[in-house]
Amino acid sequence: MKATLSIQRGAFGETPRQDTFDIPFEHGQSILDGLRAVRRSMDPSLAFRFACINANACKECMMLIDGKVDYACTVRLKEGTTTLAPLPKKALIRDLVTEIAPPGERLVLRP
């Protein structure tokens, strides 16, 4: 059994591309489990945010999952294809990572 992740890739300003990864499907796993498996065994450069992994406490892993805003750590992986994209209303940084920190908590770079 396998699960397929179809992921929007690319940095801010680049033309987005769609990459597809097949990973073994294990019942009960989260989308985040799947993304981490991709990084370990296929593409370590895949960028996505997460911190707490299980607790659903950090709220960093939000993304578009099959067109719906949700947490990658709570939505289950499914057999067949799941489409992942960065949050549409936040500034894109790279791949699935967007600027989500409150404005008052960001580094203001040297002009």
Binding site: A11, Q29, R36, S45, A51, N54, T74, L109
Partner: protein, 573 residues
């Protein structure tokens, strides 16, 4: 949106009186107190402020002698803390934790954290190792989120504190052996930043991310221990990693903390069963005379019991034990845990019908940076607090002591750092940041190895050979595995992209994790006895000759180890 600047030769530079690294309970408290002390503060975190570490994930209790449930005195809490620490506590730090704990919990109460109440008083639960009900909490399983939210609100209301997320501190900047700031990587842009400060506080939390099964966030690979070591500070008690006996194992549970079963056990009395569906706790328990008898196994004994059942071939299918609540009426489960029951149902778990599987997981680190009662390290200008600090809990920690430690030590470190800044001590120099900037600049694209996969190898080596039960052969195997992995990743960082590069982030993490893993394995090998959380299958039982702390330091690139007699005598309050 900030787009990467093409010119990375001159990094962004910021200045403040006090730099606090890590925005968990300890770091947020430190920032608040430093600001109260008149200092300008930068509070930096590699993740989002107040969300990256253990504090926001904690679901259980906070221990302090409030005397709300039953009469109590901090000295009773102190006695329990020392007993759990098996002769190794730094008594000054333990006393500070216990004596200042009530004041901090009341302050949090005034800030409306929402401690659970009963008949008008703060409700305090009994937890193992405490001689009386001493543990406050926020319902339902919301202690950590409530604590974090409360402190974030205080930060919002305070002036003089600049918060910066997504900023990973790579190294402490040193001038003439004194801490004068830090060098950081701003992950979203891939740019370096330098931070000048008159005093620096390390509040980076623990190291349990070194292990395969853990309760850690991705930010808990032990950065602060490595930062301190490289800056010339000492680490203490690094061999003492606490394993939480009944971490969730199966079925896959998402959206919930893996250590959530403990409060269920407290409130409902869950039973540990082996594959024969037989209760085995009594086979291992030494009944703690001071406990009320409902919870017979301390954490280390429970870890031992489950591990031995699995070794004897009586483990559950996923390699742990069953935890069963089938004897508890459904209505009672619902009453005790309300909405949590629905979250479990979403995971296909019905406690009234079926047991879950649990196993020991790495949970907390007793060891850490060596500090005095002002939270000062041996490096002038460098302070530490929270789980990053070692000593208060000795060889084992009582449940509920870690959050109290984060509050109390955080506040103390913030105050000390503000005082040091007033003296105008450390002076920035661009040279101080050069080694770390050079390191970042040397990053290059490489195809192998995959640092995310190397991390898994390290976690396996630590879990298999530096876990709760250790032997000479296993520890030697781990030390050489760590050396091999160090050689595999080399001295210059890997990179894959400009902005938000997880390959670079992983490489920097591994640089720290491998140093920290070694700083755990080396003293574990030296300690030829079993004490608290350090259990040697080849050296059973406590050895009085080992009633000493081990200190790890760096001398050049070599790790050194020495012994000291445990520090006695109470802190000046």
């Amino acid at each position: 949106m900030t787009s990467p600047s093409p010119d990375t030769s001159v990094p962004t530079h910021l200045e403040s009186d006090v730099l606090v690294i890590g925005a968990g309970g300890a770091g947020m408290y430190a920032a608040l107190e430093a600001a109260k002390g008149g200092a300008s503060v930068i509070l930096a975190d590699r993740s989002l402020i107040g969300r990256g570490g253990a504090t926001v994930m904690a679901q259980m209790t906070v221990a302090a002698a409030l005397g709300e449930q039953t009469p109590d005195h901090w000295e009773h809490h102190f006695a329990d803390t020392l007993a759990a620490g098996r002769g190794l506590c730094d008594e000054r730090l333990a006393a500070l934790l216990c004596e200042d704990g009530p004041q901090r919990l009341r302050e949090m109460d005034a800030w409306k954290v929402g401690w659970a109440r009963e008949d008008g008083h703060i409700k305090q639960a009994q937890a193992p190792g405490h001689d009386r009900p001493r543990c406050a909490y926020v319902d339902f399983l919301s202690t950590g989120p409530a604590v974090s939210k409360t402190l974030r609100t205080q930060l919002n209301n305070a002036s003089g504190i600049r918060r910066i997320g997504d900023l990973t501190i790579v190294d402490i900047a040193l001038r003439d052996g004194e801490a004068c700031g830090a060098t950081a990587l701003h992950l979203p842009t891939g740019q370096a930043a330098t931070l000048a400060a008159k005093a620096v506080v390390i509040a980076t939390g623990g190291l349990t991310g070194l292990y395969r099964r853990n309760s850690a966030s991705s930010n808990m690979g032990g950065d602060g221990y490595a930062l301190a070591l490289r800056a010339g500070a000492e680490l203490i008690d690094m061999e003492f990693v606490q394993f939480f006996p009944i971490g969730h194992l199966a079925p896959r549970l998402v959206g919930m903390d893996p250590i959530m079963w403990d409060p269920f056990r407290y409130k409902l009395g869950g039973k540990l069963l082996n594959s024969e569906m037989r209760e085995f706790e009594e086979d291992y328990a030494t009944r703690d005379e001071r406990s009320d008898g409902t919870y017979v196994l301390t954490r280390d004994l429970a870890t031992y019991a489950i591990t031995k059942e699995v070794e004897a071939g009586r483990g559950s299918p996923s390699g742990g034990a069953y935890l069963s609540f089938q004897h508890v009426p459904e209505a009672e489960i619902r009453k005790a845990f309300g909405p949590v029951v629905d979250r479990l149902a979403e995971n296909g778990i019905d406690l009234a019908q079926r047991p879950v599987e649990v196993a020991p997981i790495a949970h907390y680190h007793m060891g850490g940076i060596r500090v005095d009662e002002m939270m000062a390290t041996g490096v002038p200008g460098l302070f530490a607090c929270g789980e990053a600090v070692g000593g208060a809990n000795g060889a084992n920690r009582l449940s509920g002591n870690a959050i109290t430690e984060a509050f109390v030590f955080g506040a103390r470190a913030g105050r000390s750092a503000a005082e040091r800044a007033k003296q105008g001590a450390s002076v920035w120099s661009t040279e101080a940041a050069k080694p770390a900037l050079d390191l970042l600049r040397s990053a290059s694209k490489r195809d192998a190895p995959n640092p995310a996969a190397v991390m898994v190898k390290l976690q396996a080596a630590m879990a298999d050979d530096v876990g709760p039960f250790r032997t000479d052969a296993k520890l030697r195997a781990a030390i050489s595995a760590i050396a091999q992995l160090k050689a595999d990743i080399g001295d210059t960082p890997f990179a894959s992209a400009e902005s938000f590069d997880p390959v670079l982030a992983d490489w920097l993490d591994l640089r720290n994790m491998l140093a920290v893993a070694q700083s755990v394995a080396v003293p574990a090998l030296a300690r030829t006895e079993s004490r608290g959380a350090h259990q040697r299958d080849d050296h059973l039982g406590l050895d009085d000759a080992w009633s000493v702390n081990q200190i790890v330091a760096l001398s050049g690139s070599d790790m050194t180890l020495r012994k000291i007699v445990a520090t006695t005598g109470k802190a000046a309050a």
